[in-house]
């Protein structure tokens, strides 16, 4: 059987605690003291988009809102800034999930890129509208590019527990 990461492949059902664990891990990665390293991908947004596309019935706007609040507190940004962006993107990802999963991995990444860019642009817009401030630099918008490049690898890793064991029994009656 050809390996495919589209929706055609039959996978084992996902375990809820695994989703929770990956989201928590993403939050941890986001909270690493990387300081002013602007081009760091937003891990929470990336994993959130992934699960919103893969499991739109389990991960949606509710979890996006909570994660956003956590990021706001930890980031010392405006309360609701991340929450707003994440909720918007979770909605977009879950409504696009049927379409995105038809494509091979590379093209999936291309479709995920605008979603991740929206996260940054929405935050920038909210900031300018409500407080004002200066442009954080081009590197701030480079994070989504790196995150997009990571999409195939991320899919591979996060779907690993759902892969079915390869059945080598050639003489199976059916």
């Amino acid at each position: 059987m050809q390996t495919s990461y589209g929706s055609a492949r039959i996978l084992l059902p996902v375990r809820p605690w695994f989703i929770f664990l990956t989201l928590l891990l993403a939050l941890l990665l986001n909270l690493l003291p990387t300081g002013i390293l602007l081009a760091m991908p937003d891990w929470v947004a990336l994993v959130l988009v992934f699960w919103s596309i893969r499991e739109p019935r389990r991960i949606g706007m509710g979890s996006a809102f909570l994660l956003g609040l956590a990021m706001d507190i930890a980031d010392a940004s405006l309360l609701g800034q991340h929450a707003f962006a994440y909720v918007l993107v979770a909605y977009a990802a879950s409504s696009l999930s049927r379409r995105i999963l038809w494509f091979p991995l590379g093209q999936q990444a291309l479709q995920v890129f605008p979603l991740l860019l929206i996260v940054q642009i929405v935050q920038y817009g909210l900031r300018m509208l409500l407080i004002g401030g200066d442009f954080p630099g081009v590197f701030y918008f480079l994070g989504p590019c790196f995150a997009t490049m990571l999409w195939p690898l991320l899919t591979l890793v996060l779907l690993l527990p759902q892969h079915q064991p390869v059945d080598h029994d050639a003489n199976r009656p059916l």
Partner: protein, 310 residues
């Protein structure tokens, strides 16, 4: 008989309705936080949940730091120790004299019936990390509500002013650096005694504003706090002038400065105790009260901003 879908098709509210709900909720939070600054309690409460995750995230870095500090070579430590001893000896003479001068100053002030100069004292604290928010310049220090830190306290290091505590959490607090765009410090030029206000530019530099184009400022002029704001004590070094653009077409000179304290460094800082508030004299107090009543009828926004700064 009602025709409800069987439970396994029930997917809760429509996605668009959910989206509207959450967007409205986060917009309400945003506006309440940005315009009215009323969500500090919520922030403190929620930080109790994020604080452990944050601690966990900083664990690897701390372990690496501790391990590497364990393997610091003996020679380096000896050298550092010798250097510290040398500087202490060098400082001893001026320190002794300072003590004597301070007491003499106090006596003279008493003779002249001047108010006593308040002395600075504070608590030592460690900078944990810089906040990830790319739009502002803030650091987080390891003292919070538990150590009776209050918003508004000035923060200094061994060279000068670093910033001001702007938000306090149960275990940590946020310090806005003087290079932040929203931060301003009233200063005085040491050489001429001229007063002005220095503003952060957001790129690690500061700008001295509201000085006329023909003003007497030179490169390398030292700026110290003037103490007029009632927040910073007078006389702490703030910045050094590095570049002056005098444009004849403009009323003010553009004067750029760099901070003297290690504002972008990590290390130990001192959180100074808040200055006791000075009561206004009777006629002035009456006047401000009347002004406040007048301005209270107008937009309350400016006042809130001022209240936050204080």
């Amino acid at each position: 008989m009602d025709h409800q879908p069987p439970p396994f098709f029930n997917r809760g509210p429509a996605p668009l309705a959910l989206l509207t709900f959450y967007i409205a909720l986060s917009l309400a939070l945003l506006i309440a936080d940005a315009r009215f600054q009323t969500l500090e309690m919520l922030r403190q409460g929620l930080s109790l949940f994020t604080h452990p995750v944050q601690n966990l995230a900083h664990l690897p870095g701390q372990v690496v730091e501790q391990v590497s500090s364990y393997f610091v070579s003996l020679a380096r430590l000896q050298e550092e120790n010798a250097q510290l001893k040398r500087t202490r000896l060098e400082n001893v003479s001026s320190l002794l004299r300072t003590k004597q001068l301070e007491s003499e100053n106090q006596r003279l002030r008493k003779l002249l019936e001047l108010k006593e100069r308040p002395t600075a004292h504070g608590q030592l604290s460690q900078i944990l990390f810089s906040a990830r928010d790319p739009y502002s310049r803030r650091v987080v220090i390891d003292k919070g509500l538990q150590d009776h830190v209050q918003a508004g306290q000035p923060v200094i290091d061994d060279a000068g002013i670093v910033g001001q505590v702007t938000r306090v959490f149960p275990f940590v607090s946020e310090v806005t650096l003087i290079t932040d765009k929203e931060q301003s410090v009233p200063v005085q030029i040491v050489r001429t005694g001229q007063r002005s206000v220095v503003f952060g530019l957001g790129n690690g530099q500061l700008e001295l504003r509201f000085l006329p184009a023909n003003t007497d400022v030179q490169n390398n002029d030292l700026l110290v706090t003037s103490g007029l704001d009632g927040i910073y004590l007078a006389g702490f070094p703030v910045a050094k002038v590095v570049r002056i653009d005098r444009d004849a077409t403009q009323a003010f000179a553009r004067i750029f400065c760099t901070p003297i304290a290690g504002v972008e460094n990590f290390g130990e800082v001192l959180v100074l105790a808040p200055r006791p508030t000075v009561a206004l004299p009777e006629p002035l107090a009456k006047q401000t009260a009347a002004n406040d009543r007048k301005s209270a009828n107008k937009a309350g926004q400016g006042r809130k901003k001022r209240a936050k700064k204080e």
